[in-house]
């Protein structure tokens, strides 16, 4: 409310004028000299009350007229923040609305005084702005909605169904995602450029806090005009968040990240407490740096050994812009995954001076796994439960027990790396590589010296050039009937698969048609071998159950048939059933409880560290200027107010005329009686 508007509205004070005039008139009744005053009886109280009622109706009409008049006078000064599209040529507009649904948009208010104090979150204001933009669209305009929460995604493909777009805007929930403005703008521009309209625009409704304040200015060099429609959303606060709280025994390590510079500017030192329910167990001072860890030791007596996951909560005390990230569940510290390596020691003819070459390679890679050499293939499923992957180097087939154990391991999400060699091609009676390979393999002489680098894909493509000559004279040939189930990653120069993979259940089977023995080939000596192991370990990690992920990173459930995910808000996280494999993208922070094919597990979603940085990204000048629309407009309610005022005045006149006629009739009667 501007001063001018408030001043204009001060006319409303006149609402009391009819009342005071009435009071004054009543208090000072019209005084007349009248000779026969002694003959005039005083008014009885009942008559006075009736007169009051009649006066009240007239007073109400007059008060309403005064209100209408005051509002009519003030209406030219009413301004409201309302977005609308400007049309320079009157043509249809292709509009891509980039709506930021990241966690920073949960902050309430806005940076400008006019927008503060409404109690709305920035996301709510952005959605209002989007709705206002949709309201200003016309027939023939096309609208697309892109959500800038990480990862950027298309919420609404370009459409002329404006009603559907409005419904979609209403259904966009708040999330705790990070911000991917670059990706959202790229998506928006690609969508807009594909529209037939000549007038194309991208509207950004964001606080611009994408964690990259030093990044290139938004909208710079864009071929499509980008309009920052709500600059008042530009963030200016600071935030601190608990990124993770891991517990090992009685020690809890809490990692806190803050907006850079926020800790220095904050005058109140913040503390971190560990709570069991509402009971504070331990408390310590929060780190003063932008990102830091604090280790708190839980009291022994305060804990029982069997508290469920999420029972302990780490809370950051104090206030900041975003409250949702000030607490996090404490979960047991995730142990590094283990990889079982089964290598026939007798096959290692080369003098390696220690462990088999594959073990040495895994250790050399310093991956986040523990290498566990096994003397033989486990024949019980439980024995493989602790591993994320199993490497079998030239196994002589698998016995039925081994097949059942390893098969169950893969079916449940394990990743198996089979390096096939001469022993795999000549298994003993009763042994086979089923269910991974349905047919026997053969160990044959090859004329191909190595792999075709061009056939490599994924992470192996970069180092595949080193596989041109593997000095391999023999190799394993897979049965063509089995090849159809596999996806080759690297192929021999004669197109036979060198490294191939297939999914089986929730797990994967990787097959290498050379053993990892140095006397069979020089594969273990090539950099691509390390790349192969690293890629395989990544796949193994991806297949395992991650205890902690960053918000927005989708969970993949390969092979799973039925998944139920209960989010931290108690609501079920939707899992699209038509996707293969099943995927779910958590958008809220906190503890999730999953039921995957009957097996329950818990996962924790933590905030993206960059999202804590609320410093806004710079804007290209052209994008900040509202040349493509307006975000302020006058509210022209004067016609309605004028009609209302006219109606009130007419009604007031009608009442007075009616009262006058009644009085005249009374006078006529009185005059007649006076003559008599």
């Amino acid at each position: 409310m501007t001063f001018v508007f408030a001043f204009a509205l001060s006319g409303l004070l006149l609402i009391g004028a009819p009342y005071f005039a009435h009071r004054l008139r009543r208090r000072r009744a019209e005084t007349r000299p009248f000779a026969p005053t002694l003959l005039v009886p005083p008014a009885p109280p009942r008559a006075r009350r009736r007169s009051d009622l009649e006066d009240r109706s007239l007073f109400a009409i007059r008060a309403l007229a005064v209100i209408a008049l005051a509002l009519l006078g003030a209406s030219p000064f009413v301004r409201c923040s309302r977005l609308s599209l400007a049309r320079s040529s009157g043509a249809s507009v292709a509009l891509a609305i980039v709506l930021d649904d990241s966690m920073s948009m949960r902050a309430s208010g806005a940076s400008t005084t006019a927008a503060k104090g409404h109690g709305k979150t920035r996301l709510a204001r952005a959605k209002e702005g989007a709705s206002e933009l949709l309201a200003s669209t016309r027939e023939g305009d096309a609208v697309a909605v892109i959500l800038a929460g990480d990862p950027a995604r298309i919420a609404l493909a370009p459409t002329t169904d404006l009603a559907g777009a409005r419904a979609l805007l209403e259904s966009i929930p708040e999330s705790d995602r990070g911000t991917d403005l670059d990706g959202a703008l790229a998506l928006a521009k690609s969508l807009v450029l594909g529209m037939p309209q000549v007038d194309r625009r991208v509207v950004v409704l964001s606080d611009l806090a994408d964690g990259k304040p030093e990044g290139a200015p938004l909208g710079e060099g864009s071929s499509v005009p980008i309009w920052n429609a709500l600059p008042e959303l530009r963030s200016d606060g600071y935030d601190c968040a608990i990124l993770r709280a891991d517990r090992a025994s009685l020690r809890v390590r809490v990692r806190v990240a803050c907006t850079p510079g926020a800790a220095a500017s904050s005058t109140v030192a913040r503390t971190i407490g560990i709570y069991l329910g509402d009971k504070l167990l331990v408390e310590g001072a929060a780190p003063t740096s932008a990102t830091g860890d604090i280790v708190l030791t839980l009291p022994q007596a305060a804990l029982s050994s069997g508290e469920p996951p999420g029972a302990l909560i780490a809370r950051l005390r104090g206030t900041d812009a975003i409250a949702i990230d000030d607490s996090a569940p404490v979960v047991p510290e995730a142990a590094a995954g283990s990889v079982a390596v089964v290598v026939e020691a007798e096959s290692e003819t080369a003098a390696t001076g220690g462990a088999p070459v594959v073990e040495q390679a895994l250790n050399a890679l310093q991956l986040d796994v523990t290498v566990r050499p096994l003397p033989q293939i486990p024949d019980r499923t439980d024995d493989l439960g602790a591993f994320v992957g199993v490497i079998l180097d030239d196994p002589p087939g698998l016995t039925p027990e081994e097949r059942r154990a390893v098969g169950a391991f893969v079916e449940r999400g394990g990743v198996l790396l089979l390096a096939l060699g001469p022993r795999a091609a000549s298994p003993p009676l009763g042994a086979s590589l089923a269910p991974f390979l349905g047919h026997p393999v053969t160990w044959e002489t090859t004329t191909s010296l190595g792999a075709d680098p061009d056939s490599a894909s994924g992470a192996l493509a970069e180092s595949a050039s080193g596989l041109r000559n593997l000095e391999a004279h023999r190799r394993v040939i897979l049965d063509p009937l089995d090849l159809s189930a596999f996806t080759p990653l690297v192929a021999w120069s004669d197109h036979a698969p060198l490294v191939t993979r297939r999914t089986l259940g929730r797990g994967e089977v990787w097959v290498v048609t050379l053993p990892f023995a140095l006397d069979a080939s020089e594969l273990p000596l090539r950099p691509a071998f390390l790349a192969l192991l690293e890629t395989w370990v990544d796949a193994a990690h991806a297949r395992t159950v991650p205890r902690r992920t960053v918000v927005g990173v989708p969970w993949t459930f390969a092979g799973a048939r039925k998944i139920t995910i209960i989010g931290p808000n108690g609501e079920e996280l939707p899992v699209p059933q038509d996707a293969t494999p099943l995927r779910a993208a958590p958008s809220l922070l906190g503890l999730y409880r999953l039921d995957v094919d009957g097996r329950t597990e818990s996962r924790v979603v933590q905030p993206a560290p960059r999202e804590v940085d609320l410093r806004p990204r710079k804007l290209a000048v052209a994008a900040a200027v509202g040349a493509f629309g307006e975000n302020h407009g006058a509210v022209d309610a004067s016609p309605f107010l004028a009609i209302a005022l006219l109606a009130f005045v007419t009604l007031e006149l009608a009442l007075r005329v009616g009262a006058g006629r009644r009085a005249d009739r009374g006078l006529a009667v009185a005059a007649g009686s006076g003559r008599a």
Binding site: R25, R26, R28, A29, E30, T31, R32, P33, F34, A35, P36, T37, L38, L39, V40, P41, P42, A43, P44, A47, R48, S51, A663, G666, L667, A670, A671, S673, G674, R675
Partner: protein, 303 residues
């Protein structure tokens, strides 16, 4: 709502009744002004009959011939042409200065027109005429009884200079001063015309006026009211201040109109009873009435 009346205590609101002299002549010319025979019997030239002698009769009229012939004491009576003095009594108290919105002038102005017209009629008949007031302003002066052409001029001059004033509500002397001289000096057959609104007069006023009629005088009381006083046309909450007596009443005029009219009727009835019971005659008039008709009504009432 009616505009507030001007200050009634200071000057007379003539309204459309001015000028008084011209107005009075017009009114008087419309009234039959024939000579009237005196009903009084006494000294004269035309024999009027005999009657038995009573103690105290003038011995000059003793019929000696009848005494000698019939041995009876009888006196002779004669009819004679005689004047009938007109005594005008005009109420000039403050209440007579009231003028409503529908009236052509103040009550005192209307009364002045009628009084002047009556004076002219009396002058035309050769009857003496006098004028006294109930109350009145400082310039209000009574006119002694006199006849002739100058009498009318004096009466008119007095009426023109009269201003309403004085409070007679609780002051019986105001009435006594006006009527006392008439009661003492007016002879039988004199006509006394009282022009008053009969409002705010002391309680003894009715008796005093009626007493004048007891001496063989003809008393005509003209009750003069403003139309507003007769119909009470006011609306809404009103605060009435009496012109005399200082009473103030705040009331809802729409509601109390009926009660006022009933009280006014009772007031009129009580006056009529008091006056007519003693031989006085009452004529009702409003200031909106034609003064000519009022004068005719007064003349008729005085016969």
């Amino acid at each position: 709502m009616p505009a507030p009346a001007p200050s009634l205590r200071q000057a007379l609101d003539w309204g459309t009744l001015a000028p008084l002299r011209l107005r009075a002549r017009l009114v008087a010319e419309g009234v039959y002004a024939g000579a009237h025979r005196s009903a009084r019997r006494g000294a004269g030239v035309e024999f009027g009959g005999h009657r038995a002698y009573t103690q105290g009769d003038d011995l000059r009229w003793l019929d000696r011939r009848s005494l000698l012939l019939h041995d009876r004491l009888v006196v002779r009576q004669f009819e004679t042409e005689t004047d009938r003095a007109l005594r005008l009594v005009v109420d000039a108290t403050a209440s007579m200065g009231y003028r409503g919105t529908r009236a052509p002038g103040a009550k005192l102005a209307w009364a002045a027109v009628v009084a002047a017209a009556l004076a002219r009629l009396a002058g035309a008949s050769g009857d003496p005429v006098g004028l006294t007031y109930f109350g009145g302003g400082e310039a209000t002066r009574s006119v002694p009884v006199s006849a002739g052409r100058d009498a009318f001029e004096r009466i008119v001059g007095s009426l023109e200079s009269a201003t309403p004033g004085g409070d007679a509500t609780f002051d019986a002397a105001v009435v006594d001063r006006a009527l006392g001289g008439i009661a003492r000096s007016a002879r039988r057959g004199s006509i006394v015309v009282v022009l008053s609104d009969l409002l705010d007069l002391p309680e003894v006023a009715a008796d005093r006026i009626a007493a004048v009629a007891a001496g063989g005088r003809v008393v005509v009381v003209v009750e003069l009211l403003d139309p507003d006083e007769a119909s009470f046309p006011f609306q809404g909450t009103m605060r009435f201040e009496a012109l005399e007596g200082g009473s103030v009443v705040e009331t809802d005029a729409d509601v109390t109109r009926g009660g006022y009219l009933e009280a006014l009727e009772r007031h009129r009835t009580s006056w009529e009873k008091a006056l007519q019971g003693r031989g006085a005659r009452v004529v009702h008039a409003l200031t909106t009435d034609d003064p000519l008709k009022a004068v005719r009504a007064i003349v008729l009432a005085a016969r």
